[in-house]
């Protein structure tokens, strides 16, 4: 049985967090993940406090297990949402797209576990000093907003630099990925793309079908120029983006094209002109399963691989 410090800290059976995917990770998905033994995460995205509060109340009706909320610090509601989470005393907060430093004290005083997503060693060390309970290092293989470093490179370097547990994200889609990042020093994983195909995930069926059909080379990163690079599945929207980038279009024009495009794909099901955010691992992901099936299958596989590896390096001798 795989049991790490992350399980103990977050009070969960399996050291797995479901990624907070904006406009997709709602209370229903998060509750299913938590019920299955992982940590379900509600994405607050650009949502108002009213919407976030409703999701928190909903998940508390659906499960009595622990859960988390992801705060997108670039959101216009970041401050209000941060205060709401304190008031609601949510068990875990994941932060992304910015520096949570100014909220850290308030959250810690409320007894909340705080886990920032970090793009580099310097950030990881800084947040450790500021009181973070763990950090998530997310490689550029991930879907949505991404950095430059790969999971393979950032994970061991952050693991060496901090004393708090490290959770790896980006590019993990099955038990092999889990075993790999554990070798790199991670004590937990955060997974997004595979949960898009969870039966409990309410994203539009067209979005799911697009993930299922995707192959290894089907993602692209748009918006490197705007300073907000995003990994998505290639489609007509991406072709348009690439054209604009090639013609040195101005940043406003590119941002206008991106505006509302995630809603278009995730809710309306327009996978041609919507933004189908996905990790590079989409090529490996093609089954619709329940959250419980996804989690137990992945960890059974990871455990078997770890045992097999031990056998392999022993030349067949125990």
């Amino acid at each position: 049985m795989i049991y790490t410090k992350i399980c103990e800290m977050l009070n969960i059976r399996y050291p797995i967090l479901q990624g907070g995917m904006a406009q997709i990770s709602d209370a229903v998905l998060a509750a299913a993940v938590s019920e299955a033994g992982g940590l379900g995460i509600i994405a607050s995205g650009n949502n108002s406090t009213k919407a976030v509060r409703a999701e928190i109340h909903k998940i508390r009706e659906l499960t009595d297990k622990s859960f988390g909320v992801n705060v997108m610090l670039l959101s216009p509601y970041a401050k209000e949402v941060s205060e709401l989470l304190t008031e609601e005393k949510v068990p875990v907060i994941i932060t992304g797209a910015g520096n949570p430093g100014k909220y850290m004290k308030m959250w810690k005083e409320a007894g909340i576990k705080v886990i920032p997503v970090v793009p580099s060693v310097a950030f990881a060390k800084h947040f450790e000093k500021a009181g973070a309970d763990a950090v998530i290092c997310e490689g550029t293989e991930a879907g949505g907003h991404v950095g430059e470093l790969t999971t393979m490179c950032i994970t061991p370097q952050v693991a060496d630099a901090v004393n708090i547990p490290v959770i790896a994200a980006g590019g993990i889609g099955d038990g092999r990925g889990i075993a790999a990042v554990f070798s790199l020093g991670a004590q937990g994983v955060q997974i997004g793309t595979r949960f898009l195909l969870a039966k409990e995930c309410g994203v539009h069926q067209n979005y799911k079908d697009k993930i299922k059909k995707a192959g290894d080379t089907d993602t692209a990163v748009t918006g490197r120029k705007t300073g907000h690079p995003v990994r998505v599945l290639k489609n007509r929207l991406v072709t348009k983006f690439k054209e604009l980038e090639k013609n040195n279009a101005d940043i406003d024009e590119m941002e206008a094209l991106g505006k509302g495009s995630l809603y278009k794909a995730a809710v309306e099901g327009d996978v041609n002109y919507g933004s189908v955010m996905s990790g590079q691992i989409a090529g490996l992901i093609n089954k619709e399963q329940s959250c419980k099936e996804i989690i137990t299958e992945m960890f059974e596989e990871a455990e078997k691989i770890m045992k097999d590896l031990k056998y392999a390096v022993g030349g067949g001798n125990e």
Partner: protein, 77 residues
């Protein structure tokens, strides 16, 4: 003295020529730092000069001169 130390860190972290750094140089616009570089820079300065730069003050550090003045003020406190 502080300026020399800050310059040395900038040269090292941002791969710029020392001669191109003046007190007026903007860290992002003129010296080409992105937000990750800026953070790295602040961590380096904190370590090497043994100071703590308050997070609320990050936004005030636009030019090399801003950093130098900030550190001087800290020294006087």
């Amino acid at each position: 003295m502080i300026l020399e130390k800050v310059k040395a860190i900038l040269v090292e972290e941002l791969d710029v020529e020392e001669g191109s750094i003046t007190l007026e140089s903007k860290i992002k616009d003129d010296l080409g730092a992105d937000s990750l570089d800026l953070f790295e820079l602040i961590s380096k300065i904190e370590d090497e000069l043994n100071v703590t730069i308050e997070e609320d003050d990050y936004g005030k550090l636009i030019t090399v001169g801003d950093i130098v003045n900030y550190l001087k003020e800290k020294n006087n406190q």
